[in-house]
Symmetry: C2
Subunit: 326 residues, 2 copies
């Protein structure tokens, strides 16, 4: 391979709980080629093997080396981006990921939080373009987040800003995997949708009859997809459950607006595929709950534009912008 063209493509890799997804991404954010592997979470080395395999598959056929490689993963990274402090799905604990991967890839390397990468992609190429202060909220199993202020990703003093899924919104509320109770992501996420559906199905099967007839094995088989499908087909309870997730989303956006006063809030992640069924109630609640409403503007709440590839597109662009001399 020849010396890379600085305007050439970069590789972005998004490490999820079940798969390592990679893409070769142009300077304009277009994905030229993709590759994927299952995520072997057992040991740091196995996960790194999968990342290297994806990068090699994407670059092996190319005439020239990519500008750099960006890797986004669900996890908390230190401010320098060198070290994964903790990752819920993977074996990384204070792992010097950038050093370890850098030795094997021999390319400029960015590593960081997957929601930060997705937020950056939405700012550069998606729904947050031109925002002065954009918050990107990814609703999936939990809630992820990224902050872009004045054209820069903000990671906080120790690298872990945007973890608003763990704001406490209900004292003594639902237990969260983080060890606390009442975290926002226990009320506004795919997990929240399923948990509420199962609670109702368990306590009031007659009310949940329309949901239960979709799952032969009973309430335990209810998933976010099942509830979403039922809502799309007009099931009243399912629609109410989706709207309730939207109300909690809107309340949290009101709280974040009190703290940060963003101009744009972008909603991404799997749950955002529910579209207006969740965004409508979120906007409605925000309008009623925004502190100072009537005397101040609130943020625009919009759906993410880039879909599931946001993470790898953003990681590739961060590899370009943060590791390559301009």
């Amino acid at each position: 391979m020849t010396r890379p063209d600085p305007a050439g493509p970069a590789v972005g890799v998004d490490i999820g709980g079940t798969k390592v997804a990679g893409g070769l991404v142009t300077a304009d954010g277009a994905v030229l080629r993709t590759a994927r592997r299952g995520t072997p979470g057992g040991s740091p080395v196995e996960t790194e093997d999968a990342i290297v395999a994806v990068v090699e598959e994407l670059t092996g056929a190319a005439d020239e080396a990519p500008v750099g490689v960006g890797v986004g993963a669900a996890g908390w990274f230190d401010r320098s981006g060198d070290t994964v402090l903790f990752s819920p799905h993977l074996a990384w604990r204070n792992t010097a990921l950038r050093r370890d991967l850098g030795r094997r890839l021999e390319l400029p390397l960015w590593v960081g939080n997957d929601a930060d990468a997705a937020a950056w992609a939405e700012y550069r190429f998606g729904a947050a373009r031109g925002a002065q202060l954009a918050l990107v909220i990814t609703l999936g199993t939990g809630i992820g987040g990224g902050i872009v202020l004045d054209g820069r990703l903000q990671r906080g003093a120790h690298g872990v800003a945007g973890e608003w899924g763990h704001m406490r919104v209900v004292p003594d509320g639902r237990l969260c995997a983080c060890g606390n109770r009442g975290c926002w992501e226990q009320y506004a996420s795919g997990t929240a949708l399923v948990q509420t559906a199962r609670e109702i199905a368990h306590n009031s099967p007659a009310v949940a009859a329309g949901l239960l007839e979709r799952v032969p094995g009973g309430a335990a088989e209810l998933t976010g997809e099942v509830v979403a499908q039922a809502a799309a087909e007009g099931d009243a309870l399912a629609r109410e459950l989706v709207a309730e997730v939207g109300h909690w989303l809107g309340q949290g956006i009101a709280d974040l607006s009190a703290v940060l006063d963003p101009d744009v809030v972008v909603i991404g992640g799997g749950v955002s595929a529910l579209g207006e069924a969740v965004l409508g109630p979120a906007r409605e609640r925000l309008q009623r709950a925004l502190p100072g409403r009537g005397f101040r503007p609130g943020p625009e709440v919009v759906a993410a534009a880039l879909g599931p590839q946001a993470g790898l597109v953003g990681a590739a662009d961060l590899a370009r912008s943060e590791t390559v001399p301009g």
Copy 2:
């Protein structure tokens, strides 16, 4: 008066609910002279008259004009700082304060939120010096706040960031003057301390006997000062009430740390005079509630260093740094 020395003193004015306090402040943050008037809140013009009177008293005797005038007030300002959107204690509603005052003072003029001014003072001369991301929380009647990131005051996209006193921390909780329920400032502020004390004194006079013997007129006469004094003298209930404010403070700091990940959180305002009686329980709760504790550093929680003059010192320094060409 001669042309001002750019390194010379600036005037800072802090407009509270009851008084307009001004000071002549050096480039090092030292207060050379002070002046004050009562706050006539009836009309914008009367408030402006009081500001002009304070500025004239401070500058009339000087050989040279001050570098500029900074005015901080409890209120929400737009991003440009030209307009007061809303002020709880004053008659300003969409008032073009900078234009109106500028015509009368004929000096470089900064106007903005009083908590922002206090935050800036703590960053420049006080407890937040050297912080990468400092949050300054002022606990008084309510909660005010300011954010200093990378050496710059952050005001959000519309000028109203740092209003975290209105994060909802209890669904369907205590009614707030903002029209919402469950706002943080209803649980962690001087008002919260008094309200809880009165509730207990009303519902369980025997439990509150130690407090009630301090107020001949009964529970309605309980004030923050009375409870603070009782706590300082060892009254068990009063100490518990103060600690409870501290616990709510620490929980809110944990929530803000999930969102913003600051390295320093400075606690100012009248309630901070309670010192370790409130800061100790706050740190204890923060330690137990910080999301990701064990895998990440949390912020240092420290008392404000500048006391009640922080607002005017910060306003003066902002007049210098934001209105005078460097």
